[in-house]
Symmetry: C2
Subunit: 369 residues, 2 copies
């Protein structure tokens, strides 16, 4: 058998052995008492990891884009104004998605590698009649980090709903959802949450749930409609059987195992470890003379780095050489720039050995490019 | 460790050891060459299992209801007329779903345990200007079997789109999708397809794809929009990397393994085995003097039985006794009748031993009720 290569893409990532063990059991009935307990505990642990003790948790089979859709479809009614803060590919996707449900969308776009300045955002909010603002914590296409605390504060000041796309951040970058007044914080299982792909995960504030309850129009998306799922989440949390769609049983067993590991490490330790690994990686990269897409120190994500290829080098070959040295990294994702850069994920169970192996593989690619 | 009980509910079912083995590997990149091969092969094998060689296959993370939504949201435009043939809970769900996308829905409801007579359906189609008709192959709530060949023929005669909810039938009940002129045949992974829950699977005729391409309005559901997924499915089938949402990698590896097993058994053998197991189960049940919900021989499903509790017996206790004897069965699902009957799934890898064990457990419950 071929030696397994180290998976250092921005999701799926390397998962803990305990997560695979928890998943590798004969599938249980979705209403078996022990599965109900696992589902209920997972919903409760999500609130701890998200730091949102009074929020409403949802676990639904689907991808991260479904998580975006669960927030967008439920909170937008036709004619609502939405502000999208875009720092890459996923900001643009959110704008498309919100328009689908009838939102009038204004996009504030940052130049590649930059964030949108707060005063520009505030100016737009002050002058417009917005219901909702979305922003990407770490855009997986650029590795640019936004600062949700500041954006949450603007949301409170202008009394709008704030939706944080935390796909590449939850359980790795610090978020205090409730304290910071973020109304929705959403992610997907295959990122720092540490579970194979297939689950959309989100936490919604009571404020947002109340606004949703008062909708005048039905939710545009049937599968994503919280009307279908809220009674189910409430039932599992109350340890009662319920059914709308069959939950992804084995993935949820993996989620329970991973959330336990995250809470055992402790959020403070976990965020610090991600900072340390990210710094270690960055200093290695800078030591090789390579340049990052984010243009300022305070825009560097701790979960992911986006790095320009060395001058005059063929990107495809460069990635193949890294692969030859035992590490899998990802290509670029921004349509206009995808041939110019690559991406390295460093989230979840990542440790200093993983970082060193990855740096050596990149060094090998430079030396043999 | 507790002895594992036999899972005889209508999904999740007992899965093959090879399926669990295929899934229990460290998650690969969704663009790794060997995963692209697994995904592409799965799409190809689906067309064989569905008997729809020229159809468009979709594999998307989600539940069976997402599969229903993928068909409904993409094929309905506001104002379209849709006819729903309802033989239980899931027919009603489809009507709700289609209305969400602006369809004018007419429901033809069968009395519990019956099917809607063909002449009534034909009469309705002849008098109405329908775009689409949905029907449930085996309604999981009643175990009533519809006959898609006859309904497909009506669809051809009146030139409408036919959508078969095959959640409780694909890979167990005979369907020749292309020959019978069925435009969409949809299912979920945790049923007779034999993979843990988390995948929505469907096959769409070229006729339906062409009608979809000519839509005047955008698809109402962003996540379900084929515009997002069609290029991805085409890329994987052409063995090229592509990305819209991260596929549920481990579940798709399980799907590949299960589709291989299904094709190795052969569809003719597999359908025959399901008929045999269903007959065996039914004669046991009838021998105990119990009554089925379906009221005619030709309405009995081969995947599932819905059985009235013996007179004067408490349903909850009855199911607990069956459980005590080592078998897990499901309660009723029809809102008005749920306390009066229970359901036993017999699909996938089910064999005569499983049937005998289940019958003995039911006998035990009768003797100790």
């Amino acid at each position: 058998m071929e030696t397994r290569k180290l998976l250092m893409i921005p999701g799926p990532i390397e998962f803990e052995p305990e997560v695979y063990e928890a998943m590798n059991v004969p599938t249980k009935s979705h209403v078996a008492p022990d599965f109900i307990e696992s589902f209920g505990r997972s919903l409760e642990m999500m609130k701890e990891v998200w730091q949102c003790p009074n929020g409403q948790a949802f676990i639904i089979a689907g991808t991260g884009t479904l998580a975006m859709d669960l927030a967008g479809a439920n909170l937008i009614e036709p004619g609502d104004k939405a502000l999208v803060i875009s720092t890459g590919y996923f900001g643009e996707r959110y704008a498309d998605l919100l328009k689908r449900y009838g939102a009038e969308v204004v996009i504030l776009r940052a130049p590649v590698g930059m964030a949108v300045p707060l005063d520009i955002i505030e100016n737009e909010l002050a002058g417009g009649d917005y219901k909702l603002m979305t922003f990407t914590h770490v855009d997986t296409s650029t590795a640019v980090l936004n600062h949700p605390e500041q954006l949450g504060a603007l949301g409170i000041k202008y009394d709008i709903l704030t939706v944080l796309d935390g796909v590449c951040s939850v359980a790795a970058e610090e978020i205090r959802q409730e304290e910071w007044g973020i109304d929705v914080d959403l992610t997907a299982s295959q990122k720092a949450i540490g579970v194979p792909p297939g689950l959309a995960l989100l936490l919604v504030s009571q404020k947002a749930m109340k606004i949703w309850e008062k909708r005048d129009t039905p939710v545009g998306n049937y599968y994503a409609d919280w009307t279908n799922w809220l009674p189910i989440m409430n039932a599992y949390e109350a340890r009662k059987p319920s059914y709308f769609g069959t939950p992804a049983v084995n993935l949820i067993l993996g989620l329970e195992a991973s959330l336990k590991i995250i809470l055992e490490e402790g959020l403070v330790n976990r965020f610090q470890r991600h900072q340390d690994m990210s710094s270690l990686f960055r200093s290695g990269i800078e030591g090789m003379g390579l340049k990052m897409i984010p243009r300022h120190m305070n825009l560097y994500a701790n979960t992911l780095s986006a790095i320009f290829y060395p001058d005059g080098i063929n990107g495809g070959k460069f990635i193949s050489k890294i692969n030859e040295a035992g590490v899998i990294v990802a290509g670029g994702l921004l349509p206009d720039l995808k041939s110019k850069y690559f991406r390295v994920g460093h989230m979840g169970r990542v440790n200093a050995d993983d970082i060193q192996i990855t740096l050596k593989a990149i060094e090998y690619a430079i030396g043999n490019g």
